[in-house]
């Protein structure tokens, strides 16, 4: 891709200062998102996916956090901005959808009010104009009878409807980048499909890029164009989505893909147990030396145990693994 990236993260390190010492949740990651692109970020729970997204908007407050590196959005470093400047970016140029639609809407405000709030804040519209815009947004996320629904409190809406309302809120100011943190995890499968369709559709309509964080590889296959695989705070592999699924380079990615059941597997491969990745994600407190995946890796060698794997670039792919030296 020869376009300028919309967002470019360079050597991002996010550290939490806790009573048990300094924990590095995100450790030196690089990634780029181009205009109009959907970048998928996959990994197990606790690998630093969400922290990466929250670091971009600098939403991490507690425990005391230190974010280092560079997050260039449109050429400006988000990490160097004043709190006031970053506040103007939040919800306006970059917005975010959360995992739990049940808790991400304020129970004491109607959904119309909550959407209108973002619009008034960033577009300087009056109360009524913002309300009209909020109703229009509810219509765009295909909520039936939006004018009536806008006056409803969140508890009256189903999970799927709430996530639609959340999307309406996040997209109300036509952000250029949407951080979607597990947007479908809390929903049941049919609703997931609807929400995916809706996001795809709106993405085209308002030309937004999406950073899609999930542990659902199916969702990645559906929506993302490029994928970044994270493990224990580091990126282990980055590839276009087809390459990743058909020819994973990193043993961790392979393990992830092999641990998913797929239709027709029994016919193709015979009856055999589903593969698993042995062991557990290492704790932030005690990261293994060398490659962080080596205690669980079936192909680990001596060098993996002692030295951090180098970046191997096989355009358009990147992988951090000694296997490919």
């Amino acid at each position: 891709m020869n376009q300028e990236p919309l967002l470019s993260i360079k050597d991002l390190r996010t550290r939490f200062h806790t009573y048990e010492g300094v924990l590095t949740a995100v450790d030196g990651i690089h990634l780029e998102i181009y205009p109009g692109e959907t970048l998928g970020v996959v990994g197990e729970s606790g690998c630093g996916k969400s922290v990466t997204a929250l670091s971009i908007l600098r939403l991490l407050a507690s425990p005391p956090t230190k974010i280092e590196g560079q997050i260039l959005f449109d050429g400006n470093d988000l990490l160097k901005m004043s709190l006031d400047e970053i506040r103007r970016i939040r919800g306006n140029s970059i917005s975010m959808i959360f995992q739990e639609p049940m808790t991400s809407l304020n129970p004491v405000l109607t959904i119309g009010e909550q959407i209108a709030e973002a619009i008034r804040l960033h577009q300087g519209l009056g109360r009524e104009a913002a309300w009209e815009k909020a109703v229009e947004m509810l219509q765009r996320v295909q909520i039936p009878s939006p004018r009536i629904r806008a006056r409803d409190y969140p508890h009256k809406l189903s999970g799927g409807m709430r996530q639609r309302a959340m999307i309406a809120m996040a997209l109300s100011c036509h952000p250029r980048l949407l951080l979607a943190d597990e947007p479908t995890t809390a929903l049941d499968v049919t609703i997931q499909a609807q929400i995916v369709d809706l996001m795809e559709h709106l993405k085209e309509e308002i030309h937004t890029s999406i950073l899609l964080i999930t542990h659902n590889l199916g969702l990645i296959a559906e929506m993302a164009k490029r994928v970044v695989v994270m493990y224990a705070g580091k990126i282990v592999e980055e590839a276009p989505v087809e390459d990743l699924f058909f020819e994973p380079l990193h043993p961790y990615t392979k393990g992830l893909l092999e641990s998913i059941p797929w239709m027709g597997r029994k016919i193709r491969e015979g009856r055999k147990p589903l593969q698993e990745i042995p062991g557990m994600v290492p704790s932030l407190k005690e990261m293994p030396k060398g490659c962080r995946f080596h205690p669980r890796c079936l192909t680990a060698r001596e060098i993996c145990r002692n030295e951090e794997p180098p970046l191997i670039v096989k355009p358009p792919r990147r992988v951090f693994c000694w296997l490919w030296i």
């Binding site: 507690s62 939040r90 975010m96 959360f98 995992q99 004491v108 709030e117």
Partner: protein, 276 residues
Amino acid sequence: MINPWMRFKKNKAALFGSILLLIYFVTALFAPLLYPGNPSAPNLATALERPSIKEPLGKDELGRSILGRIIYGSRVSLLIAIGVVCVGLFIGVPLGLISGYYGGKVDFGIQRATDTLLAFPGFLLALALVAVLGVGLKNTIISVGISMIPIYIRLVRGCTLSVKEQTYVEAARALGTRDLTILFRHILPNVMAPITIQTSLGMGTAILFAAGLGFLGIGVQPPTPEWGAMLGSGRPYLFHAPHVATFPGMAIFFAVLGFNLSGDGLRDILDPRFKS
């Protein structure tokens, strides 16, 4: 969930409490209609007169109608109750919100000050403040009010700590909402239930504290009819004219009871966790 009004009606104690309060508020509002005379005009010829048909609650040591003074006293007591919780609310709630939301040094500072205030029993604190500020209605309200502030700070801080971790607060921040808007539009309404309960209970306490100060003679000053002061001035005659102290005492008792029962009832309605 049945509707709140139904739940309130089913709670007999709360219903009784709110009927009491209604009676007090109506009395205060229509005092001149209920007692057309001047409750402070002395008539020594009828001093310490026993209750009779004409004067149902009798007369005090200066020959003033006790019924009239209780009726007018309800205005003073309710004014104090409202004034006191206003002081507590307007100072305590914002401080509690700020303390809970920002945490860190701000929280530490506010909380140590709160600790200091809470170290004194509430009434003692009010007493000490009156000693500094001086007597009178305004100073009674201020000093009892200040003694309420730390209670609100603690309550609101605790609730804010749990509400601020909710995803909707994070979502509001992710939308670029200003801190002030988050505090007052997103967090405050979510901590309103305990504040409402505390306010109802606090009004009862305020009346009791103010009456205590009045009883000691350092609260609202005569000739303003104030229940605590009436109780205090009736004390010397407790044996041969018990009605002088008894009726104001009952007025205080039922007012505080009303506020407490209503407060408990509100808690049952607003916080379903208390009900199994």
